[in-house]
Amino acid sequence: MATKEQTPAHELRPTTQELRIPERFIPTPTIEPGHSFSTITDHISTIVLRRKTPFGWLIGFLLALGGVTVLTTTISVLIGKGVGIWGINHPAGWGMDIINFVWWIGIGHAGTLISAILLLLRQEWRTSINRFAEAMTLFAVASAGLYPALHTGRPWFDYWMFPYPNTMGLWPQFRSPLMWDVFAVSTYATVSLMFWYVGLIPDLATLRDRATKLWVKRAYGMFALGWRGSAKHWSRYEYAYLLLAGLSTPLVLSVHTIVSFDFAVAQLPGWHATFFPPYFVAGAVFAGFAMVLTLAIPARKFFKLEDFITTRHLENMGKVMLATGLIVAYAYGMEWFYGLYSGNVFEIFMLKNRALGPYSKMYVALWVCNGLAPQLMWFKRFRTSPFWLFVTAMFVNVGMWLERFVIIPASLHRDFLPSSWGMYHGTKWDWSMFVGSIGLFFALLFLFVRFLPMISIFEMRTLLPEAHAHAEGEEH
């Protein structure tokens, strides 16, 4: 039987123009025309395999390493002196440690969301950004993990959180959301790492085969596990990948749900709300997409990847940011409704204190960053402009940090008893830890873009029209 004719998307365009379909309804392609299997392979793998390290990369990496130095210094002082160097004290026992933890873990949601949920929804445009977003997830989770591990005060006893028979006769309290958190975050980190690595295997084989130096070949070859692209292997591989996507989808939703339980299960006004799980998950997706945009816009420019990360990708991410931003703004509104409708004097006080109390500036800034700024994304002009997308994403990055500030210390600092009220301010060590974790995140990211393909090469190949083969008798 004759093979079904496959027309590339870009060749379809003249026809649609003849039909006088307005230009704005014709989707921009997910990959620019004129590419073949070899050009995609060469373009992406050359970024990794070229001998000369770009000067800009070196500068960026050194700056990030400076941040890592700040981090290691802070951690050394922290372990030496204890968590007293932070601004936490009664009444705010949680401060920037938990703000930053939740901020990072939220950012870490976009990767798995793009990889898993968009894969299951067959959103082809995910292909050129998923690898990058997954790496971002891993590094964000690594930065996040530092905080709960260190804020225990005696991090050398952190292993007590894991259940094992011990001479003290103690077991962890599994009814506590903090224990749920341990399992949720460590499971998420492990599964994200496996998802990312499994996706990398065929590309590592490509790098192994394309490298010219023996030691480079060996290094990539070791991690490629001897992948040879056998049809049987691909079959099991695709199946495993699909199953992983199916498993990661509820996982990614569960992680921020459980993080929100850290607050929602407590009785504090401003924390004790049943709508926290969906509100946190939407916020995480919002923050994650903002961070993907923050990183992808400069990266595509610097590495000349405009053919693969097209305006369509940026526009779609802008749309996701708008949608999740609206959910988040709705949640901010619902907090008022729940508080007022409850008639509870402490709930109502918490809301008044939030809007008019000592942290009111942050609350207003939160609304500007997360409520107002994403509204730009209603307009195609802003959605398709990398500059405006970047500006909006930066607003969201700041806004999501403020959101956690408003939830955590701003709720803690004035609880039920006025005699126990106080104020919370981050100390220089709080800020150096935050700057340091950003440094760690970027240092890992710089290493990633230098040594691993930041776009999935084999999945990009499948986007080409000539990749579609049809078996004989398939149409029977």
Binding site: W171, Q173, F183, T187, L244, L247, I258, T462
Partner: protein
């Protein structure tokens, strides 16, 4: 398959193709010609290729299901044992077996073990890691991870005859047909 074993003689005969359609057609033709011990190589997954070479169902789904069940039961047991048997705490006379509080961890353990099953199960069934394989002896096999497509007939196939296999593969329109030494 002689895993990692270097033997005397021939592993098979391999043909190189230009595009996925040719490989898929060739795989069908080879299977129809009666060859059963064949394999195809491509730089990306091709829909229907595994079926074309006679590969059908994978045991992976049952491995993942089994591991998931183990994770779920194990996770629940872990919480139950620790808080009911190992270190019971009487808090206001509330029941010790407070199972709803253990659901989050049960869920996470289910996902974790099922994911382990998917990844390590896939690698194990694929026989990976396998640093040495005879097909890597083929000079142009480097491009199997770039833009070329390969089909191999294994020498251990009952119908295998070197000259006949070479002749048959060259009728399928390949760029080149080569022997694969062990």
């Amino acid at each position: 398959m002689g895993v990692g074993k270097i033997r005397e003689g021939l592993y098979g005969v391999i043909a190189e193709f230009h595009d996925p359609q040719m490989l898929l057609d060739a795989a069908h033709a080879t299977h129809e010609a009666g060859y059963r011990d064949i394999d195809a190589f491509s730089p990306f997954p091709i829909h229907g290729l595994a079926e074309a070479i006679g590969f059908h169902k994978s045991r992976l789904s049952s491995i993942v299901l089994g591991m998931g069940a183990l994770g779920g039961i194990g996770g629940f047991f872990m919480c139950w044992y620790a808080n009911v048997i190992g270190y019971p705490l009487n808090i206001g006379g509330k029941p010790l077996n407070s199972w709803p509080a253990w659901i989050p961890i049960t869920f996470e353990c289910t996902i974790l073990l099922a994911a382990f099953g998917a990844v390590f199960g896939m690698l194990a069934l694929n026989g990976l890691p396998m640093p040495y394989h005879p097909v890597f002896n083929v000079r142009r096999f480097d491009s199997a991870s770039r833009d070329k497509f390969f089909l191999v007939i294994h020498a251990r196939d009952p119908k295998f005859d070197l000259d006949e296999a070479r002749r048959f593969l060259s009728t399928l329109g390949p760029r080149e047909v080569t022997d694969v030494p062990w």
